[in-house]
Symmetry: C2
Subunit: 109 residues, 2 copies
Amino acid sequence: MFDVFAKECPSRQVFAHVTGRWGALVMGRLSTDPHRFSEIRRSIEGISDRMLAQTLRDLVDDGLVVRIDSGTNPPHTVYHLTEQGAVVAEAVRALVETVQSTMPTLPAH
Amino acid sequence: MFDVFAKECPSRQVFAHVTGRWGALVMGRLSTDPHRFSEIRRSIEGISDRMLAQTLRDLVDDGLVVRIDSGTNPPHTVYHLTEQGAVVAEAVRALVETVQSTMPTLPAH
DNA sequence: CGGCATCCGAATGGATACTG
DNA sequence: CAGTATCCATTCGGATGCCG
């Protein structure tokens, strides 16, 4: 079956996108609600246009996120999770909360 | 409180290590059992000595992993999770399984 | 507003050789 | 065995400018 520890397994790429530097944060953000490009950009401190666009494209290609472009001018594009994306995002959100709640007991940085 | 979406929050660094390209796989591997350096290296296809050493050092510094060096020759070093690391690793393991079980319903790559 | 194209420095990361 | 050191290629990713 699928094994993220295997180099050529397709799940490895999806896992890499989901756990990537920005992927996890984007999934975590979308886990609660659909959001516009600029909303996501503002809510994730430090991400650039370029990286957000690239990250979203990867997730759309993976089938975890849907891009809805109204086609109007000015543009109005909304991103939301697919059914499968919602399941994955829920696991990401759990990880986010676990890390955050574990922080107080970790040695200071 | 701690917020992984905030740029300067310490939790952001820990989250980055845990969700990094190799960090997530290392945590996932250690989630079941303690392992030696070479065992981890073999079990994660594609990782190099250099990246494994660096990844483990980050996780040790974060307080999620403990390094036990027997000091003998030949060396015998075992890595295992701290109490907090076990909690985080469990969330990582859940994410790994979620991604793997979701794969069959995703568009092919 | 939501991108894409280009440039370019910084960081990532593999290969190899070496050590206790 | 468990790393470290060095070198080098690839990728990351910010800045800027442009477009509909």
